[in-house]
Amino acid sequence: MSSVSDTAPKPQRRLPDLHVLGPILALVALIVIGAAMNSNFLSYANITNVLARSAFIGIIAVGMTFVITAGELDLSVGSMAAFIAGLMILVMNGALAGMGAGLGVIVLGIGAALVAGLAAGWINGVLITTMRIEAFIVTLGTMGIYRSLVTWLADGGTLSLDFGLRTAMQPLYYGGILGISWPIIVFAVVALLGEGAMRMTRFGRYCAAIGSNDQVARYSSVDVNRVRLLTYVLLGLLVGVATVMYVPRLGSASSATGVLWELEAIAAVIIGGTTLKGGFGRVWGSVVGVLILGLIGNILNLTDWVSPYLNGAIQGVIIVLAVILQREGKAGA
């Protein structure tokens, strides 16, 4: 051979297989367990329920995947969702008098939620990129701020969508096409677009490059701050999208809305195989992670064998196991 690198003796013993298969195996295991425990587990209604309610965290987790891949973090998404939901309800209730409970108000509400999401993501992003403040601190701060704001908007209670509007809006959660409800459709579309963006666009590649080594990215003419900012804006927008699905479901927002969504979304992303330190991310993994989390809750509701007090413990154990399954395949130290 012409080259001087004779790489012969080591047959590249990397097993990406298990690393890739890990989350999927965990998901399959959960499905098998669920089906064994309750015959209704695989029923259409149950599957649809789980998918639809996973959509909120799922849509957010897709955005979170980009943020984490770029080496960042966002703790504010749960509070942000609560705040946007509150805002959306206020806007719609406010416009009701002038516009009537029609499509107009709904479109206005959706628009308001998306714009608010964009703006909230942008604020996080600007504080982090241009002001150069640790993402953990910025988003911990905005987490407190949004949570307070929604409590304040609701005067300590609950903000409720006008009843008529609620009826008009419900199809957004409960309706759908071909028997598949909107949240599932939107989740699927967001996931597909996200996966495409991660693998097939410059944006996805830049996220990984920045998360891996932002100096290198900078030297390679990547506008690092802009890409980082974009990840937050994208995440904010997706929080807005999730909220648009959420409001018709419950028709209200309060300080209890979206509590701990951030941890769930981050956990889903990591269970899915994205590296917390950045540099590598996969959207489909996050989707699998969200489904795993959703199924754990569902299965615990389907069976009686543990005290409900211990649900959190079971959940914790399964999350760790799911990740062990995935890590098994990893090579040496």
């Binding site: 309750n38 209704n40 149950n46 300590g156 609950t158 419900q170 479901r249 300080s255 389907l302």
Partner: protein, 295 residues
């Protein structure tokens, strides 16, 4: 699904503070008892940490467990109204506990607590104890509609009685938080005549703070909900805890029991049961003292 077994779903908020903990305990205990008494009944208990989770729990109960009746203590009224209404339409028996749904006529049975009443009784007692008027501080619960109703009831009751609320903060129905808040109130106000802690867990924190500060200007602390340790203090005539206002977590037991009996007997009890908030003083404290309850 089988004709002979009937399933009752019970959906309640998780035990994130003392009262909810007591309520969780009573729910669990009642279910265990009823399952033994009525082998033909099956119970599903789910505890939720937020309204969305509670809606999911209820969905699961319907889709996968085929419940015939639902006993629900809504985390919040608004978000649960729609989902519960849609279940009611499927012909499932609905028992609502404590917090009413925001739309009338959905539930078959309503076992209600009386939050404005709770505030009113508390306010009246405070006003009565301070006939000359006085300066009090108020600790509020977790910001929720319930808390708002209680505080409104309280404020209405003390109106025009010369009582100044000189500080009001959220103690979140939590002993630690109320301890902190009370310490700071004590630093800030040299003279506090009384404290409405609005909850017995918070009263525990408040008492500890007062004791540690060695202040003797505070004449009494009024908690609420009927925690056994507090009732016991009332019974013994403690000066700081002259009274308590009930808001029994055991109302969940009543609701589950009525629902179960209704299902089994085929003659369901419907309607509304309001469990009023009662002032407990040394005279009647024995009636409200349950030493075996965890709360």
């Amino acid at each position: 699904q089988e004709d002979e077994t009937q399933v009752i779903g019970v959906s309640i908020p998780a035990a994130t503070h003392g009262w909810a903990g007591g309520m969780n305990f009573h729910a669990q205990e009642t279910i265990d008892r009823l399952e033994e008494t009525y082998p033909q009944l099956d119970f599903v208990l789910a505890t939720a940490s937020d309204p969305a989770k509670q809606v999911s729990d209820i969905e699961d109960m319907v889709a996968a467990r085929g419940i015939d009746a639902l006993v629900v203590l809504p985390f919040e009224s608004e978000p649960l109204t729609g989902p519960v209404a849609s279940i009611a339409e499927q012909g499932i028996w609905i028992t609502v506990v404590d917090r009413g749904l925001s739309e009338e006529g959905i539930e078959d049975l309503y076992v209600a607590g009386d939050n404005p009443g709770f505030g009113r009784v508390s306010g009246e007692f405070v006003a009565e104890q301070l006939p000359e008027g006085g300066d009090i501080v108020v600790l509020r619960g977790i910001p929720t509609a319930i808390d708002n109703e209680r505080v409104e009831g309280f404020e209405t009751a003390i109106e025009g009685k010369g009582i100044n609320v000189i500080g009001m903060e959220h103690g979140n129905w939590n002993r630690d938080d109320s301890f902190t808040v009370m310490q700071d109130f004590l630093s800030r106000h040299p003279q506090i005549d009384a404290v409405w802690a609005s909850d017995d867990d918070m009263a525990v924190g408040v008492l500890a703070a007062i004791e540690a500060a060695g202040r003797d200007d505070v004449q009494f602390v009024l908690g609420g909900a009927g925690m056994k340790e507090m009732i016991d203090l009332v019974r013994q005539g403690d000066e700081m805890i002259p009274a308590d206002v009930t808001y029994p977590p055991a109302m969940i037991s009543t609701a589950i029991e009525l629902t179960a009996v209704g299902l089994v007997s085929g003659a369901p009890v419907s309607g509304e049961f309001t469990i009023g908030s009662v002032l407990v003083t040394q005279e009647n404290a024995d009636q409200y003292y349950y030493p075996d309850s965890p709360f």
